[in-house]
Symmetry: C2
Subunit: 194 residues, 2 copies
């Protein structure tokens, strides 16, 4: 998605070899106009499938999930990152390791909101090692629902999580796949002198 590459080039900040901060438009301050374009792009890629629900994980997946759910006219469900005192006991739970925050937490979804008859489009802003995303896939499968598609805004291809899920046969589409951050190289780009 060219528009996204432009924004990453203009406003992304690379920290070290593996961190790309896009707080200016995606993760902290949110450019809703861009997110609506992203949602339409996911609709172009997955719109031919029957989707009954969009699933994401708090917090930074929620805004993109909201616009994708709107594009598909279905509800959004966001998985929660730890047992909330306000959440019922009747939940699916999967433990997930966060490398960003160096801890393991439980990811939960109320059983009422993910059902066997659901055909689920999973979306998230970032995909790196893929632990959170594998948690969402596991929750969906615990509910015996169908993973109809996985849509990611920015995949850090060099961290391997996306290819692991593709090898397992999931229809995973990332709007951009980065092969390296220094220099910024995208997968499937034609070779050129750098």
């Amino acid at each position: 998605m060219e528009l996204l590459k432009q924004r990453i080039a203009q406003e992304g900040e690379v920290k070290g070899d593996s961190v790309l901060r896009v707080d200016r438009f995606l993760n902290h301050q949110i450019d809703v106009k861009l997110l609506k374009e992203i949602a339409l792009e996911f609709y172009r890629r997955f719109g031919q499938k029957e989707i009954t629900k969009v699933l994401t994980i708090e917090s930074s997946g929620i805004a993109i999930g909201a616009f994708v759910a709107d594009a598909f006219s279905v509800p959004l469900v966001f998985a929660k990152k730890h047992q909330s005192t306000n959440l019922g006991d009747d939940v699916y739970t999967v433990p997930v390791t966060s490398f960003t925050h160096s801890r393991t937490y439980d990811v939960t979804v109320d059983k009422n909101y993910l059902r066997q008859e659901d055909s689920v489009l999973i979306v998230d802003d970032f995909l790196a090692r893929g632990c959170a995303l594998e948690g969402l896939v596991a929750l969906t499968e615990k509910a015996h629902a169908h993973v109809a598609g996985i849509g990611i805004v920015i995949e850090k291809g060099f961290q391997g999580g996306g290819d692991r899920l593709r090898r397992r046969g999931y229809p995973l589409e990332s709007l951009v796949v980065l092969e390296s951050l220094r220099p910024l190289v995208y997968r499937d780009e034609p070779c050129k002198a750098r």
Copy 2:
């Protein structure tokens, strides 16, 4: 807002005397069509003001914040609940007590995304004692930005946080204000036999 009262009556779950769960359409599973109606209602109430940014707090404010920001055609900024390793040092920070989770945490916003020239509409899904909301007001004022309005979906009036902010002069509008949960009584409702 009548539509919201209907949904609370049909799908809300009252737990004890002070907890109203609306996980079916607002807090966990999100009815995006309803959220867009809510966003339009906020636009009707605050649209005559100059708004440059919508501010909310993770996680459950993000979806409503996204649609409100879209209605006003401005960016959404969501405050983060604890110092993230990916967040820069250049942040405004306010300590906030959560009664729901019985702990105190830091609420932060990157200084780049809240500026002196901003005229801010603060939104959140729930208002009870108002600690999180007071944190958002304090962050805005630390940035010397203007609190142009505060929009709340569901206010639990009997917990006092909203009236405390109104007494301080903030233009706070809640789409519904509950005076009690058992029975469900809304503020400003005409008396009737119950």
